[in-house]
Amino acid sequence: MFKTFIFGLVLGVLATAGALYAFPVVDLQREHSLVSVATNGGNVESFYINVPADRLLARQPGQDSLLPDMLDWPGVDILQPIGVELYKIRNERGVVIGVASQLSESGSTSTDWLLHFPARGSQLISVQTQATSSGALRGDLRAGSREFAKRRGSVAVRWVPDDSTDEGVAGGRIEMLTNYVSQVDRQ
């Protein structure tokens, strides 16, 4: 009986080690990346944010309304000119694949977007506040992590109003069209 116990003990140790080795502790849900190749090079991918449905947090300087209502913005002077919005971000099929933040400061000529896709990596994009002739805002990928670490390129951000949303609420969607080139490919 003691030998059986020892056998079980060894088996338990080996089985646990084997299970930890064979099965991933973290298994993230993935969506297929909907990437296409641009005519003049680079990879094109679109992201969408439905407003107000995908908005998690909103605070703009000089505005009393906050999202959520209970948000307690610090009273220090240095943070008063700062506006922050947080969103969920969707792929071309409308599936939520990440989160995004938009941070701006009063008087600045650009706003910074941080996009985070759990299974892929993060991107930091600086977007000009002055629209181009096409009506879109132009931005540049300043930095990235993991899948986006070695990429550089541009982003076009466009606001598309949607009149079918609830009355009194400014609705629509933010479209982000990214066009990135891998730095490795260029060398």
Partner: protein, 232 residues
């Protein structure tokens, strides 16, 4: 026959328990106690933030864990693709304790997690905006294994389901040299600068029901030597 089956089952359970205890107290998994940024003589900037979700400006996750979203009414992240993701907005304080700016942190559990090697990894990205200086982006992996060993497990072992004491440790585990995170200046006077960062956590009280009760995080940012030369 029955007694052999019981012996085998008891042996199996003891084997599993023995392995888990061995994993948690494995002396071959070293905890880094000295920050790699302490070496050298280039300038290091320190920014601290509260690591208690209820004291942050905003925090949200899937709502199912011990860390509760804050403030009340903030939307959750219940989608399958975001269920292991957390989002935080925090006031960043300088070394004198004065508010220096604001930080947004996104973090998701990493598929590179390997408990056999003492790696409980989280991929995180920071965007920090300092109105007087500029803004920067931090990409890093964080290893929470030392935190699990020294705070989480003792808290669960305690009959009151809590832990009190003082634990400090570095979380950063790459992708930069010596396990530091990579920093890119993206605005203001920091635009275009390459830096490295180490994020550390200091915990004084932890509850298994509410998470951290008293804890502070810190980002240590260091310029790359050639960058300092270029700007001096």
């Amino acid at each position: 026959m029955m007694k052999y089956a019981v012996s085998l089952l008891l042996g199996l359970l003891c084997g599993v328990a023995l392995f888990i205890i061995g994993l948690l107290y494995n002396p071959f998994i070293a905890n880094r106690t000295v920050s790699p940024l302490s070496a050298g003589d280039t300038a290091v900037a320190s920014l601290s933030y509260t690591a208690v979700p209820a004291k942050s400006i905003a925090f949200t996750n899937n709502g199912a864990g011990r860390l509760q979203p804050h403030p009340k009414g903030i939307r959750l992240l219940p989608e399958d693709t975001l269920e292991q993701t957390e989002l935080m907005v925090a006031e960043m304080r300088d070394a004198r304790g004065q508010t220096a700016g604001i930080g947004v942190k996104f973090s998701s559990r990493s598929e590179r997690t390997n408990l056999l090697r003492g790696e409980a990894l989280v991929n995180s990205a920071w965007y920090v905006h300092l109105p007087d200086r500029g803004s920067f982006f931090v990409e890093q992996a964080e290893n929470y294994w030392p935190f699990i060993q020294n705070v989480l497990v003792p808290a669960y072992r305690n009959s009151a389901n809590s832990w009190k004491g003082k634990w400090s440790g570095d979380l950063s585990a790459g992708p930069g040299a010596l396990g530091a995170g990579r920093v890119t200046g993206v605005g203001g006077s920091l635009l275009g600068r390459s830096m490295v960062a180490v994020e550390s956590l200091s915990v004084q009280a932890y509850s298994t029901e509410k998470g951290p009760v008293s804890a502070e995080g810190r980002l240590l940012i260091k310029m790359q030597p050639d960058d300092v030369t270029a700007t001096d």
